[in-house]
């Protein structure tokens, strides 16, 4: 918890710096815009956090958002039903996640390879599925989910808050949550203590896929359109958010609250770059550097902890 507090201080410092140096930062629309953007990043990163807690990884989250969004949008258009479209997107994301889980538990592939292969497979399928088309123009009721307001606050923030609460309860207060941490801390010990490791891992990757499916629906509602490249630039920021949030790549350490703080940090940095009119082409470079810095801190922290034992 203390590390999350440190990270909140860092967020406050970045925010203060931006507030002092740019005029447009400290305005209500911009703050709400940052929170809404951070909420979307959090939704993608939350499932990813679970996989990293088990000492795994899901590199396919961004691509999964892409294809799930296109599938959900297509079904929503052709069926004319928001519910059927959203349910299809969610189910599709979950199935992709389940396939990731099966590759990890049955084929015994390292998670980063299995999900990396899934990334490119999904990318290919998305471009084939869309064939250059863009689907746009959704019903106002559906668009409320992404761009609407309730009591003056953007709806995605409520979605984020609901999933943060549910996810925190799941990871902290349920047996499943404790098992996730146990598998990440020491898989062999977890297995020997009777935890059905493979079943739990399958569930974790399925949840990660389902969260990508959910994020996809909110994204479509926000953008009011779906095209093949919708998920392309989402993976690196999601990984950065998890790592900045203090979840360790080595498993067993971290929290969803941390991931939210990470998503907020990253969004602040990107927002600051936008406000200062920095060329958007710098964004992958900055995100990459942030990932490296965050992993390095993770490694040093771990080495210090081991030296103390």
């Amino acid at each position: 918890m203390r590390t999350v507090a440190y990270r909140l201080v860092a967020v406050a410092l970045i925010a203060a710096g931006l507030a002092l140096t740019t005029e447009a930062f400290f305005t209500l629309p911009n703050i709400l815009n940052i929170l809404r953007q951070a909420s979307l990043t959090f939704l993608i990163a939350s499932g990813l956090t679970l996989t990293i807690l088990t000492a795994g990884l899901d590199l396919s989250v961004g691509a999964n958002v892409g294809l799930s969004a296109c599938v959900a949008a297509t079904v929503m258009k052709s069926s004319g039903s928001i519910a059927i479209g959203a349910a299809t997107g969610l189910a599709f994301g979950a199935v992709v996640g389940m396939l990731n889980g099966l590759m990890v538990t049955v084929l015994k592939l390292p998670p980063f390879i299995a999900t990396y292969g899934m990334l490119w497979t999904l990318n290919g399928l998305t471009y084939w599925f869309m064939a250059g088309e863009t689907i746009h123009g959704f019903s106002p009721a559906f668009r409320t989910l992404g761009s609407g307001y309730w009591l003056g606050i953007p709806v995605p923030i409520y979605v984020m808050a609901a999933f943060l609460a549910a996810g925190s309860i799941l990871t902290r207060y349920t047996t499943f949550g404790h098992e996730v941490y146990a598998i990440g801390a020491n898989r062999e010990a977890a297995r020997l203590s009777g935890i059905p490791v493979r079943a739990r891992l399958n569930l974790v990757y399925t949840l990660s896929g389902a969260m990508a499916g959910l994020a996809a629906i909110v994204y479509v509602a926000r953008l009011n359109s779906a095209e093949a490249d919708i998920g392309e630039a989402l993976t690196l920021p999601a990984i950065a958010a998890v790592l900045i949030g203090g979840t360790s790549l080595f498993g067993g350490v971290g929290s969803l609250t941390g991931t939210l703080v990470g998503a907020l940090t990253l969004t602040l940095v990107v927002n600051g770059m936008n406000l200062r009119a920095v060329d958007a082409n710098w964004q992958p470079l900055v995100t990459g550097a942030i990932v490296l810095l965050a992993v390095w801190i993770d490694v040093v922290t771990r080495q210090r902890a081991e030296a103390r034992v």
Binding site: I113, G117, W120, L125, P284, L285, V295, V299
Partner: protein, 323 residues
């Protein structure tokens, strides 16, 4: 990383699952694909596979050492942009190639330092440098193609060496260099030991860290050199030209039978892997399957090869199974 597999000194020859897949693919495409089994098309497969082989060779060594380099495609794109920009500004081909190779080498050394010196997990470290290389290429070009690179490089690319297309000749030369280095020097056994037996290697007096960084440096250098073929083929530089090509390289290495559990792998396996992916893409082209589905089919190919490999392993060891 500890490997429970006992260290085996000899490398036994076995046909990776890709060998069978390759034969099946060749038969299917030869029967159903009109114009597939013709000399121009076979040469075409070689030309298309040459850039991939340049990346897959060092990738084999890196994966054998239980590592990974996801930055290769982005570094290759950046090196291509650098080469094209130098040529556009009137520098000679050799200066441009040196600059491209230098950029690649710098990224390779950085990857090695991040993984070996700082101890970052390879897949995230190289994911970070992927973002940095891609960002640099985009900023340098503003996201646009670099054209007007003159005639020297395209002419060189179209030339033939002893009747063999330039790119195939370069790829074969690279294969020979890697193969001779691995078979005639101790490098091969060092690479295997990095994955499973680092301590012993250090006790044997090898500068383990330096050697390990050298593997990643080779990956970066080859990505930089591959810019010669990529830029020659396109007659231009583009900041995202080779994004994702590292996926094909990783796929070729895995399909070629190199194991992620360290130590096991052969360059011949990787060559077969590269050919399999080249034949798959080319054959699907001939059957006019869109390129987006070709990418997806490579994912399926990798899974198929892994299943065949584990089946062969299970059949070969009836008692006990895997260690």
């Amino acid at each position: 990383m500890h490997s429970r597999r006992p260290a085996k000194a000899g490398r036994y020859v076995h046909i990776p699952g890709a060998g069978y897949l390759l034969i099946v693919l060749l038969l299917v495409f030869a029967i159903f694909g009109e114009g597939f089994a013709t000399l121009p098309n076979v040469l075409n497969i070689g030309v298309q596979g040459s850039v991939l082989l340049l990346l897959a060779l060092p990738m084999t060594l890196i994966i054998m050492s239980e590592g990974l380099d996801l930055s290769m495609g982005a570094v290759l794109s950046l090196a291509g942009v650098v080469l094209a920009t130098m040529l556009m500004n009137g520098h000679s081909l050799s200066v441009g190639l040196a600059a491209a190779a230098g950029v690649g080498l710098a990224f390779g050394v950085a990857n090695g330092a991040l993984v070996v010196t700082l101890g970052l997990p390879p897949f995230v470290a190289t994911l970070g440098t992927l973002g940095i290389a891609q960002g640099l290429a985009l900023v340098q070009t503003g996201g646009q193609s670099v054209v007007g690179i003159g005639d020297a490089l395209p002419a060189l690319y179209e030339s033939r060496i002893a009747g063999v297309p330039f790119s195939i000749a370069i790829a074969l030369a690279a294969f020979l260099v890697f193969w001779l280095t691995l078979s005639r020097t101790r490098v091969g056994s060092y690479v295997s030991a990095l994955g499973g037996n680092r301590e012993a290697l250090s006790l044997a007096g090898v500068h383990v860290d330096l050697f390990h960084i050298g593997l990643y440096a080779a990956g970066g250098l080859m990505s930089g050199l591959a810019a010669l073929l990529l830029t020659g083929r396109m007659s231009a530089g583009h900041p995202t030209a080779a994004i994702g090509l590292e996926f094909d390289a990783v796929a070729a290495v895995i399909v070629g039978g190199t194991s992620f559990e360290g130590g096991q792998g052969t360059l011949f396996g990787t060559l077969i892997g590269v050919l399999t992916i080249g034949v798959l893409r080319n054959g699907l082209n001939v059957l006019s399957v869109p390129s987006s589905l070709q990418v997806a089919s490579i994912g399926v190919l990798v899974i198929a090869a892994l299943i065949i490999d584990s089946t062969i392993a299970a059949l070969g060891r009836p008692a006990g199974g895997r260690a």
